[in-house]
């Protein structure tokens, strides 16, 4: 079995970018959730 290649260290920009993406997706999911909660409460 070959040893896995060591991962290069992540840069500040990469970390910030992935965090922003996750935050954006979380906010979008929250908006969708609030929409469906509203529909459920009205039904």
């Amino acid at each position: 079995m070959t040893k896995p290649e060591p991962q290069p260290p992540r840069t500040v920009a990469q970390i910030r970018s992935s965090r922003n993406r996750v935050l954006g997706l979380s906010l979008a999911a929250f908006v969708v959730l609030v929409f469906f909660i509203s529909i459920a409460k009205m039904s």
């Binding site: 500040v12 970390i15 910030r16 965090r19 959730l33 469906f36 909660i37 459920a40 409460k41």
Partner: protein, 308 residues
């Protein structure tokens, strides 16, 4: 509060989202989510799936926020223990302000979302559970008394109660019994772990039962709680009224608790053989205790769906 370690004060990189997730103790959260979901599914009424999902999400966010507050407060203690030294705060991968703010947002969001979407009674109990874990257990009890885990165990017992209330809107004997089961299960579960990481707790000055009262007393107490858990786990079967569990749950509870008791007897009546002792019975009891709670609550839900 303890002072910030130099490694935690200097954050060379911005916080990675994976470290924020790690702050919520995902493995502990899985048990919290599961018991909350079981409380929700075992309730004698039904809930709209979106609202049910929201209730579980709120329980998860609340538990994650409380866990993050716990890690924020105990960063220096965690740094001194092998089991917790790899966490983001002791490693300096996250600064304490970010951790505290993240925890605060999670806790507040979980309570308000639960209140607006589900019910304010469920939201109030969720808020109590967060304060119970983050303040009563972490800040007040844990550094002061060996009974910390006995009283603090209540924090982990809230999820099925919250799940049940999210559906029914009120508190009845059944969710209180579910609360009591987790409350009584917590000391033997945690002390089994504390027995084999005793030296680590002693090193950082946390008065866990094996450190203060000694191993012998802890083992006897594990046994006492396991004895108590046997009839208590079957209590949902014997409850009067129409919300009691059926025979599927009752027989499963008695069988699961009998195994729990057998493993506890092995731990309770044992003496450590020496420094080379691998503590296998204690490790087995700890592993089984996690499986026990999953299986017990799964049996409760299975029983409810079989009865339908």
């Amino acid at each position: 509060m303890t002072t910030t370690s130099p490694s935690a004060a200097i954050a060379p990189l911005p916080a990675d989202w994976r470290d924020l997730i790690a702050l919520t103790k995902p493995r502990v959260m899985s048990l919290v989510i599961f018991t909350g979901l079981c409380g929700l599914l075992a309730a004698p009424q039904s809930i709209h799936p979106v609202l049910g999902f929201t209730a579980i999400l709120c329980i998860a966010m609340g538990a994650g926020g409380a866990a993050a507050l716990n890690q924020w407060w105990e960063a220096d203690i965690d740094a001194g223990m092998k089991r917790t030294a790899q966490r983001p705060l002791p490693q300096g991968r996250l600064d304490r302000t970010t951790a505290r703010d993240f925890a605060g947002v999670l806790c507040a969001a979980s309570v308000f979302l639960m209140g607006f979407a589900i019910s304010w009674l469920a939201a109030a109990i969720l808020a109590i559970s967060i304060v119970y874990y983050a303040v009563v257990y972490t800040i007040w009890l844990k550094p002061r008394t060996p009974q910390n885990i006995v009283i603090g165990g209540g924090a982990g017992a809230f999820p099925p109660l919250i799940g049940w209330i999210a559906v029914t809107g009120h508190i009845t004997p059944m969710p209180v019994v579910l609360f009591a089961i987790i409350f009584i299960w917590t000391p033997p579960h945690f002390w089994a772990l504390a027995l084999f990481v005793k030296t680590e707790y002693a090193k950082v000055g946390i008065p866990m039962m094996p450190v203060v009262a000694g191993e012998r007393s802890t083992r006897r107490q594990i046994l006492a709680y396991a004895v108590l858990l046997l009839p208590l786990s079957a209590l949902p079967w014997w409850l009067p009224g129409d919300e009691h569990a059926g025979a599927v749950y009752g027989v499963s509870a008695l069988a699961l608790s009998a195994v729990f008791l057998a493993l506890s007897v092995r731990v309770g009546l044992r003496e450590r053989t020496g420094p080379d002792d691998t503590m296998k019975p204690e490790k087995q009891l700890f592993a089984y205790s996690v499986l026990y709670l999953f299986a017990l609550f799964a049996a409760l839900v299975a029983d409810r769906f079989i009865a339908l």
